[in-house]
Symmetry: C2
């Protein structure tokens, strides 16, 4: 296991964290951690980030309830980025969407074909639709 | 579709790009792009990054042959990060590993149980072992 002291934080003391969904494998968010927020994450088993815009620690789900239970944290060959797999209690995005990544910049022909990820998205969308209409 | 001009590049003109494997859904790399490397990526359909350490454009696989064919590119709610799905021709990491994320910082009990991702890793590892030993 890699210790926090072995990670490379940038000039602002931050390290980017890619948060993915343990079940769907989707990328949910790219957020930033400092050493303290990573310590809190390890201790509490739930993601805690450092908000660059508000210059403060930010326990994900503290107000919304949409906490992220941490399954694994890995670092890369440069030890200057984190990949965090989570099980989320609700939407990852403050806009209420499953993931923060919703806007397309590009999609190849291959990407328009069938994939497990797209099937998962389709089933999830229909499930949400069903829950809304059956109430 | 979002245009390059609508993205938020940082003070150095860069945007972080999370590269994931279209098939395994693994996070392969966190790299950086400037507007020019993103234009090249869109035009050529293969990832081109900006190397912060070498201060130059870096077409992934240019020397190794391990190019990454781009399937999709999405941006997030802040438009300050990219998620790029790729089909890779070989290892994503310069160390020869499938992904750059190989060192664990944390793993919960849930993460030790069965998952599709871990099954995929196991089968891939045994496939590589088989290819090595059967030569």
């Amino acid at each position: 296991m890699i210790e926090i002291s072995q990670l490379k934080f940038d000039g602002q003391g931050l390290i980017p964290a890619v948060v993915t969904d343990f079940y769907s494998k989707k990328v949910l968010t790219v957020a930033y951690m400092n050493a303290e927020s990573l310590q809190i994450t390890l201790r509490e088993g739930k993601t805690c980030f450092y908000s660059r815009s508000r210059s403060m620690l930010w326990r994900k789900g503290e107000t919304s309830g949409n906490v992220q239970e941490v399954v694994s944290i890995k670092t890369d060959c440069d030890r200057d980025a984190l990949w965090i797999e989570v099980i989320k209690a609700g939407p990852a995005c403050h806009l209420g969407t499953d993931s923060c990544f919703n806007e397309e910049v590009f999609r190849s022909e291959t990407g328009k074909d069938f994939s497990l990820g797209r099937l998962y998205e389709l089933i999830s969308a229909r499930s949400e639709l069903y829950e809304h209409t059956s109430k």
